[in-house]
Symmetry: C2
Subunit: 596 residues, 2 copies
């Protein structure tokens, strides 16, 4: 038993280690978990012995994992699964089952117990979710079909893994498996899922409606209540003989923004994120490293190599094979498989539980951790190679999950922009002037007549499903206000705001507050261009950029030459056009499209 | 040792109990801690035995207290202390020392050890901080001099208590106190304060500047780093032989919004609030209740009564006496003393540590908890009686900590409003038109010429120190944008926005987003009134309200009668005028001032 107060020094050391490991990892474009595991291995009892376990750290790590599971559940959007469509769904299943079977076979071959083989099988089958979003951004894949298949694949494999894992755990408690025991275990599991799903579908919405009616504005109260719901679900899982983390995950699945007001949901989700990923979960991953023994490299090298090999080959091959019926080609299948090759939080959590329960030994655990580290490091390389290959062949398919653009303000510039953007993505428009709105509709665009500062008008214009929002009216204030609504109430990820030249009221600070950038350049005399376009005095120019340059810099250079022009698009080498805004980068070989 | 995973059921039960206790408490206008303590006493091992301790709960509670102390430190604004002025400062010290001495004497008289007497003395001397803000709002005291003295008093007594407590703790470890031991202890304490203050003044700003330069936009990273700083300070306190909570508190003192960007600071502070007050600290307070034995009512009734009596009398008398030199009268002193009579988080934390370390026994601990419960329940009653007494005598002095009003837009209506408001509070104005700004200055107001959407202009107009912000330009969008800046970047607590009648763009949803209400009525045709006032065709009418009514309702009734008027002020029975806005309530006997 420890002292009368908690072991601060050890906690502090682990937090610092986690932070350093995570930072280095992120700097190298890897997920934090990689650095946290490695730091744990190096500084832990196995190697340097600078860090050790303590009750404080243990409890925080375990609670952190529960909160992390809630967060992972909250992040899952059922619509994403739908959007992944059948091919994506099949790929995810193939990418889980093939390595699962191979992993199981490997352990049995090397003389392991069936139960430990099942644990390894799950760990090998899992796909890491957290890994990806960052890499997708870096590789500029965010809008590709691959990205959506990857995300859905991770979600499906996480869900599958957790459910199978929970099932296995139920059997561990039973011991000898006879028919009655089997029925009991299965019955408990069925009851657990029935109860949690029914509660999630019927009781939680009622709770949410009650809280909304009671007009509690403090998101702290919601946080407390959601914590209670999550721990309640975790306890239900335990009662059903499954692990608490499955309960926490199930709770997260049902805690969705539709339950509460949008902004309160975001705040609560952020708190879960901060507490788990910013505080407690890293403690878990560092301490997971403590249990790793590097001796497996000498004692169990063949098994280690086989597990890693099977994990990589099984995942990529399985995904590719099951992706073939999609008709999207085996190359895209390979890219998807490469992207799904990482293992992350869920695998380490499951392996950790297996170790704690004595189902797998320290050697197997260590092998699984090294497998996670190795496979995760492969993702950026493999994904880069395969997607660049597709890009070169012109086969990198673009898909919009949030469908394309929402433009506020119908005017000559916005119509011109819309015409270009609509080549690849759907464009919706909004204008408060009925004639202009009708004009846009005649020109072939979906346009809502209404005030863009009203929530219901934005809903009608499908703002919740838009990927890019551009506020283009001739009034900077209205642009800012509309952008703010789009950001805060509709969470549109990319927001560009046209700021007029004569308006020094709307400054950079305000843009930053809502995380938007200014469309075109920092200040733009839109009315001049309205006139030019109306009188057909404008000319569209495509100008290649010799080397990578920021939009800001490009504008500056042009302005230095005294040329008056309106850059409004960037055309990438694959012909894809994106809006020209002040926070953008233009890569070598890309073209800036501007008006003269 | 517990099972291989954490004790969810116990944690869940304690969280639910804390939530129920806290909710009932808040419903009755008491702070949550009261309900949490009582629930812990009733459901804990002492009485019903439904809840119990576990390692999980223990660790979370202890970490929760550290985070709570950081949060309490963060909340302390050194400017508040300055603003309390000497009388407030003296009152706070008197309100600490007198009960401190009385508490010490009581324990010695009843045969306690000097060390336990010191602990009781601190507990009796402390003033609860969290208790108050809510009560101040309910009793409509937010702008009174009493409110500021109360806040400063709580801050000073918390700081004093923690420092003395840390000092005592240092000696406990030494045991026998000789000169060398004494010097060692004192030296360590001095070094601790020197190091933490130097780090706080020099290293932390550098860290903040580095993080700002590195443009980390994720507040999660800041949260992690601030956690590390806080635990680091806690560890320093331990090294110096003091308790970790003092270190956490010191860390909080130096983590101020000036270190980072304002909005990031707010987000990090909110996470600390959510995690401590919304999750872990309530666990501490419920489990504190576990250690309470109700048997003190039979075994130690005299001591219990004496401690409570001394706590109440000592606090109120001490405050009043030391407040006399202020010349504000003994009645105001009594009101301040009554408001400071509550004990809260800090007292329970200190008592809990005393119990854990064996310095006080379970009886004394129980007495201190009951004392906290009793004194806290007295606060609303005593404060209500004393302040209503002052109010009836017309002696309830108004003070603005955030000095008065900031009005955006110089026009006939805003000038008229400013003239009234300036009778009691300073009014600053902003207008982007140089002539109008000069006009306002000639009319005797402080007015900045500049754009109210620019941060630097708001800074110049002293927005950071304003209590009420009124956006009154003839452009609803500009009003909304300025209001948003005032809210988000300057945290002005009261924001009223004039929304023009012909402008259906700016809706109630947007107002709600920035927690503002609309000035005058929901939509107001300001230009009509501009003209009327310019032509001197307007008439100011004062109309008494027979019974309590909402501003919304008042406007509705007038409108039903078809009368066109502009309500712009409410005059309270003590002659104090406040702006008429749509979220206001008008009490019986108050007058609405409107233009006709």
């Amino acid at each position: 038993m420890e002292e009368y107060h908690i072991n601060i020094l050890n906690l502090l050391a682990i937090l610092v280690a986690a932070w350093i490991g995570g930072s280095i990892s992120r700097r190298l474009n890897y997920p934090s978990i990689l650095g946290e595991l490695i730091v744990g291995i190096i500084l832990g009892p196995g190697l340097l012995g600078l860090l050790g376990e303590s009750w404080t750290v243990r409890v925080l790590a375990e609670v952190g994992i529960i909160l992390l599971m809630v967060y992972i559940g909250m992040e899952i959007d059922f619509k994403d699964l739908k959007r992944a469509s059948w091919p994506g769904f099949m790929a995810a299943i193939g990418g889980f089952i093939v390595p699962f079977v191979m992993g199981y076979a490997a352990i049995i071959y090397f003389g392991g117990t069936p139960m430990s083989a099942l644990f390894v099988a799950i760990a090998v089958g899992v796909t890491s979710l957290v890994t990806k979003s960052r890499i997708l951004v870096d590789l500029k894949l965010l809008n590709t079909r691959i990205a959506y298949v990857l995300m859905a694949g991770a979600l499906i494999s996480d869900t599958l893994a957790l459910v199978i894992f929970a099932g296995i755990l139920s059997f561990v408690d039973v011991g000898s498996i006879d028919l009655i025991g089997l029925l009991l275990v299965a019955g408990k599991a069925v009851i657990f899922f029935a109860v949690t799903i029914l509660l999630g579908l019927y009781a939680l919405p009622k709770l949410g409606a009650y809280l909304s009616r009671a007009k509690f504005q403090s998101s702290t109260l919601y946080f407390t209540i959601i914590l209670i719901v999550a721990f309640g679900y975790a306890e239900l899982a335990e009662l059903a003989g499954m692990h608490q983390i499955l309960g926490a995950f199930m709770a997260g699945l049902f805690i969705k923004e539709s339950l509460f007001q949008r902004n309160i949901f975001k705040e609560v989700q952020k708190t879960f994120y901060d507490v788990s990923i910013g505080f407690m979960a890293p403690i878990f991953f560092v301490t997971a490293g403590f249990s790793v023994t590097v001796e497996v490299f000498t004692t169990d090298l063949p098994l280690l190599l086989v597990v890693i090999l099977f994990a990589v080959v099984g995942k990529i091959l399985g995904t590719t094979l099951f992706y073939l019926p999609s008709g999207y080609g085996w190359r895209e299948g390979l890219a998807v498989g490469s992207g799904m090759n990482g293992r992350g939080a869920v695998e380490i959590v499951i392996a950790g539980i297996g170790l704690e329960m004595g189902i797998i030994d320290q050697n197997i655990f260590s092998i699984l951790v090294f497998m996670a580290i190795f496979t995760t490091t492969t993702v950026p390389f493999l994904l880069k190679w395969t997607t660049e290959w597709l890009r070169r062949r012109g086969e990198l398919a673009q898909v919009n999950q949030r469908h394309g653009y929402l433009l506020v303000g119908v005017n000559p510039v916005s119509l011109l922009l819309a015409r270009h953007l609509q080549e690849k993505s759907p464009v919706n428009m909004i204008d408060s002037n009925k004639d202009l709105a009708d004009h846009a509709i005649e020109a072939g665009f979906k346009c809502v007549h209404g005030n863009a500062l009203k929530e219901e008008v934005l809903v009608e214009a499908n703002a919740a499903n838009k990927f890019i929002f551009i506020a283009l009216t001739n009034n900077s204030e209205i642009n800012m206000l509309a952008a703010q609504m789009a950001r805060e109430n509709f969470l549109i990820p990319n927001i560009y705001v046209a700021i007029l030249r004569n308006d020094d009221g709307v400054g950079a600070a305000l843009l930053k507050t809502i995380k938007a950038t200014s469309m075109f350049s920092m200040r733009t005399p839109l009315d001049i261009w309205f006139n030019k376009i109306s009188r057909r005095e404008h000319k569209e120019v495509y100008e290649s950029v010799p080397e990578k340059v920021t939009a800001r810099h490009w504008v500056k250079e042009k302005r230095a030459k005294g040329v008056q022009l309106l850059p409004f698009l960037i055309k990438s080498t694959d012909g894809y056009k994106r809006p020209f805004h002040y926070g953008e980068e233009i890569f070598s070989g890309e073209q800036v499209v501007y008006l003269k």
